[in-house]
């Protein structure tokens, strides 16, 4: 493994009984980058993190973290990684400070440095004023911040973040993203999973798009967007919900990709512009629908995701448990 590669996965596979959760994935993470696994819920992102951090054994394949094998040298790996699970799982009964002190004890931070390190992290995360508050009394954003602080108590070389901003309000999510960028600037490698396309676009140096247990594309957000830029992307807004007429519209536009971004809004990828305008206007006239606006748009990572996966972006808005997330 090259010095620059801190994580390397080869054919990593996980079955839960009959269910194939992760399907022979291969990827590499470079030192100092923010690498994102992007995909809808149930894509296998969390299972991948669990395998890399020793919480779950791969059924097939292998992976190494910082040159150590995840099968035989997991304890060595754990000394150098910090993990922030999707659920903020510190101890309700302990104060913010005591939670960090316990983590410092568990990770073997030298006795003389524990207090200093815990206080330093509480200050960095803006929690110093609440250091004596029990974990259960903190707001959701504060709990998330403290969970990340706990993952960093031993100065890890790699930080694994599973859906870091899930459940946070817009302000807390924004401040957390800034913090992640700061950590990268300090030289930390960050491996994160997200189903928020904008988050991946904003934070990640490289993204692996994961769908149904497979990585179907890896690249920088810019390179993924560049694939779509070669083709035209036109967005049509209608005066009503056209969900039930979407198939009819697709049938009229053979050879191009039609995706509903909202119930009354579609994006059309590729094809000859004149033909697209002609067909869509004819469709609107036939169905008695009014076109409210037509925009030729600059592709986003969302457009690249739609083009690459063939999935509707609405699938990414579904939170675990089937809820739709609000605009962030």
């Amino acid at each position: 493994m090259g010095n620059d590669l801190v994580i390397q996965a080869l054919g990593l596979t996980k079955f839960y009984g009959e269910l194939l959760a992760v399907d022979h994935i291969n990827f590499e993470v470079k030192r100092g980058e923010i690498f994102g696994l992007l995909g809808p819920n149930g894509a296998g992102k969390t299972t991948t993190i669990r395998m890399l951090t020793g919480l779950s054994k791969p059924t097939e394949g292998r992976a190494s973290v910082l040159g150590f094998d995840i099968g035989s040298e997991i304890v060595k790996i754990k000394r150098h990684i910090g993990v922030v699970p999707e659920i903020s799982n510190l101890y309700d009964e302990l104060s913010a400070f005591d939670n960090l002190m316990f983590m410092a004890q568990l990770y073997g931070v030298p006795r003389s440095q524990r207090r200093k390190r815990a206080e330093e992290l509480l200050k960095i995360f803006g929690l110093y004023e609440r250091k004596d508050s029990p974990f259960r009394a903190l707001s959701r954003g504060m709990k998330r911040a403290l969970t990340i602080a706990a993952g960093m108590i031993h100065n890890p070389k790699i930080l694994f973040l599973d859906e870091p901003t899930v459940g946070l309000d817009v302000v807390a999510a924004r401040s957390l993203r800034n913090l992640i960028i700061n950590l990268r600037q300090q030289g930390m490698t960050i491996f994160l999973t997200t189903h928020y396309l904008e988050e991946a676009d904003l934070l990640c140096d490289r993204v692996a798009i994961m769908v149904k247990g497979r990585i179907i594309k890896t690249g920088s957000p810019a390179s993924l967007k560049a694939e779509v830029e070669k083709e035209s992307v036109i967005e049509f807004s209608f005066d009503r919900d056209i969900s039930e007429l979407l198939k009819n519209l697709s049938d009229r536009l053979a050879g191009v990709k039609v995706a509903a971004v909202e119930p009354n809004k579609v994006r059309i990828y590729g094809g000859i512009r004149a033909n697209i305008y002609d067909n869509v206007f004819r469709f609107a006239k036939d169905k008695g629908i009014e076109i409210q606006s037509v925009n030729s748009i600059k592709p986003t990572l969302e457009d690249a995701f739609i083009k690459i996966t063939g999935l509707s972006p609405t699938i990414m808005a579904i939170e675990k448990g089937g809820r739709h997330n609000v605009a962030r």
Binding site: V75, I87, Y91, L94, F102, L106
Partner: protein, 242 residues
């Protein structure tokens, strides 16, 4: 590596003591219940209370070690806090041993109070090394029994229910109140496959200072029970994280 594991075991046990054990529900279940139970027998027959002391200590060991076991394992599994421990650079057996040690330390505190109180108030003269040997081994046996029964199930209430079954069967069959030898043959056989029988027996020998061979036999059997409980508990916990 072993230093990491020892450190992990120690700090997990300390954390559990702080967050779960030294709380009113655990203290009441671990000490008040056995004392109330034995007092009921004492009030019925105030003479010969000395004979009930080994049973009282055995019950305190049983109830205090398992008082918060369901919470420290099943509740943490459910909340994901147990995963947090497994993310630390320590082995999974060390995490479980930390949980078992927490129960054992709490049990030791409760037993120390009950034993000291009984010995001083009744003027008893137990063989201290034998007493310590049987108490320490029993604390680990019942704490690991609690851990095993907890990892067998998923929910806290399932674990509590499952723990109650052996606890109450053992109170009646293992010589806590009635001598095993006075029970029907079939129940005697049943008593000999239960660890509390050897705790009570060992404690009786420690208090009567009779046969050292019998104390060591009881100690050996208790060691066997510890291995019998802790190994499958570790295996089952591994299975939960496969």
């Amino acid at each position: 590596m072993w230093r990491d594991n020892l450190r992990g075991i120690y700090y997990i046990a300390l954390k559990d003591m702080r967050t779960y054990y030294l709380k009113p529900p655990s203290v009441s279940w671990g000490i008040i219940f056995p004392v109330a139970w034995i007092l009921a027998f004492y009030l019925r027959n105030p003479r010969g209370f000395e004979e009930l002391v080994p049973g009282l200590i055995a019950m305190t060991i049983l109830f205090s070690t398992t008082a918060a076991e369901a919470v420290v394992i099943n509740f943490e599994l459910r909340l994901g806090s147990l995963e947090r421990l497994l993310l630390a650079p320590i082995s999974l057996p060390s995490v479980l041993l930390g949980k078992v040690l927490g129960g054992a330390i709490f049990g030791l505190l409760m037993v120390t109070v009950v034993t000291t109180g009984s010995v001083l108030s009744l003027g008893l003269h137990p063989n201290i090394p034998y007493l310590i040997l049987i108490v320490i081994l029993s604390l680990f046996v019942f704490s690991s029994l609690g851990a095993l029964l907890c990892v067998l199930v998923k929910e806290v209430f399932e674990a509590q229910t499952l723990l109650n079954l052996p606890r109450f069967i053992m109170i009646f069959l293992c010589g806590v109140v009635y001598p095993v030898s006075a029970m029907p043959k079939v129940l005697q056989y049943l008593a000999y496959v239960m660890p509390l029988t050897y705790t009570v027996d060992g404690l009786r020998h420690a208090f009567s200072a009779t046969s050292s061979t019998m104390v060591f036999t009881d100690a050996l059997v208790l060691m066997g029970f510890f291995v019998l409980f802790i190994l499958p508990a570790i295996k089952l916990l591994y299975k939960k994280f496969e």
